[in-house]
Every structure is written in structure tokens, then in C-alpha cells.
Symmetry: C2
Subunit: 160 residues, 2 copies
């Protein structure tokens, strides 16, 4: 039989288990990318977030730390991090609008599960998901580099 699936469930807001502080900054440094005052601030905001942030929220928080951070710089930094595979982009099924949400890409893939009523987003890791990815690589002859899984439904409290 299959071994017991490894699971980790985070309830409510995003729990930032994967983050060593300064990880994003270290990654960029290592790649020889220039670290400006503004970039450090944006990285810090993303790393310390307890939930998934959109660009506007990242900007607001960054400005609180350093009023000189410009909206365009936030977008450009997000783009930089995406290009380097250091953050993931989510839509959370457009529950909160048409924008995008970001989270620093931890060591393991996870699935996002949102309640369509209360909007709570939970994260879930599963051995089955890893097996599914392996199956896809095998069957389609593809090398997977990104995954984005968003699931919507109604949580226990919202069905009562």
C-alpha cells in the first residue's frame, strides 16, 4: 500500500513556515543582483507577510517602512522575483477581485483551498499531489517547473 501521506494544513491566514528571514535577499545577492534600498523593503514585506498580498497591499506596507517606495518599483520587483522563480503568483479564484496575489515560493509546492463564502484560504500539501505531478511528467513527457492549484468550495462553518 501507499505510505501515509505527509500533510500539512494551515488554517486561516497564511502561515509562513518556510521563511528564513532574508532568504529572498540572500537569493538575489547570490545571483549578483543589485540590492537597492527599495528592493530590500519590498522583499521584507513579502517575506514577513502572514497572508497572500496583492501589489497594492505590498505597496502600502512598503511605504509604511519607507515612504519613498514607488508603485512602479513594486511591480518591477515582483516581476524580478517571478522571473527568478522566487515567488508564486496566485489569483485565489478571483474571490477578491481580478488582481494577483504573491507568496514567496517555499521549498515545497502546495495547494490553495479557498472558501467561496468566507474567503478563508488554506494551504495543503499532499503526497498525492507529488504523485500526480510525477504521473504527468511520465505521461506527457514534460518537465514541470511551476504549479498552481486553486480549489474552491464551502468550509465546514459556512455550510452550517
Amino acid at each position: 500500500m501507499t505510505a501515509l501521506p505527509e500533510r500539512r494544513v494551515s488554517t486561516g491566514e497564511r502561515i509562513n513556515v518556510n521563511e528564513k528571514p532574508g532568504r529572498l535577499q540572500a537569493e538575489l545577492e547570490q545571483r549578483g543582483i543589485r540590492l537597492t534600498r527599495q528592493r530590500r523593503v519590498v522583499l521584507q514585506v513579502i517575506e514577513t507577510a502572514q497572508r497572500h498580498l496583492d501589489a497594492a497591499t505590498i505597496l502600502r506596507r512598503a511605504k509604511k517602512l519607507d515612504p519613498g517606495v514607488h508603485r512602479v518599483t513594486v511591480y518591477r520587483t515582483i516581476d524580478l522575483l517571478k522571473r527568478h522563480g522566487l515567488i508564486d503568483e496566485l489569483d485565489l479564484l478571483h474571490l477578491r477581485g481580478d488582481g494577483h496575489y504573491y507568496e514567496s515560493h517555499g521549498p515545497r509546492d502546495h495547494i490553495h483551498i479557498a472558501c467561496l463564502r468566507c474567503g478563508k484560504v488554506r494551504e495543503f500539501e499532499s503526497r498525492l499531489f507529488e504523485e500526480l505531478k510525477e504521473e504527468i511528467e511520465r505521461e506527457l513527457g514534460i518537465k514541470i517547473t511551476i504549479t498552481r492549484t486553486e480549489i474552491g468550495g464551502y468550509c465546514k462553518s459556512c455550510r452550517q
Copy 2:
């Protein structure tokens, strides 16, 4: 042990296996929703598409069938279909920009797998994915109603 996984792979452009012609229209009729000339055209475009269409493409094709269809009507019809769970909304990992893509929601969930280089999108069904959903429902006590899984990687030909 588990039975052999059922699989269906569609290569290249979207293969429209699930569609009985007029299914969307029949579904709306059954729900007592008014069927206007414009709506019929938009429904037909979505149903007969061989690939995932964005709003602009739906509009272009609808206008070819009936020049009187307005962009706003396309958006409103998409919204209607989404609210009734008759179509799914995808981003295809933003490979083609920040817009959304639509496909009529067939009887079974499937996974979208896009090549990050050539942009080809394939669809994949798997028993493992069904098991994963069951696991999530069991573990998180949630009733799943929507899923969106988008996977990116490099296909065989693009790695050569």
C-alpha cells in the same frame, strides 16, 4: 490496490470532447434564463471553440456571426455562465498576458499543462487528482465545487 488510473490526454489545441451542441443553451433554458439573439451567438462561440478563448476573441468571433454583439454583452454573458458554473475561468499561467480564458465546464475536472516555451496547452485527467480532491475534502472538511489546476513546464520538443 488502486485500479488503473483513467486518463485522457488532449494534445495541442483544446479538444472539445465533452460538448453536446447546444448544451449551454439548454442549461440556461432549463433554468428559465432569457435567451437573446446575442446570448445564443456567444454561447455558440464558446461551445464550438477548439481552444481556450479570452473575452476579446469571443467578441471577435461573435461579431463575425452577428455584427451586433457588443463587447459589454460578451462580458455580461461570461459572467452569467460563471455564476451558473457552466464555464471555467483560466489564466493559463499568464503565458499569453494577464487576461482570462474560458472553457465550457465539461462533466469531469481536468488539469491544464502548458509548455512555458511553445505555449502549447494540454489537458489531463487522472484518478490521482480525484483522490487528491477526496483527501482534501476529508482532511479539511470542505465541500469542493471548483478546481483550477495549471501546471507549467517544458515539453519534450522544447527541451531538445
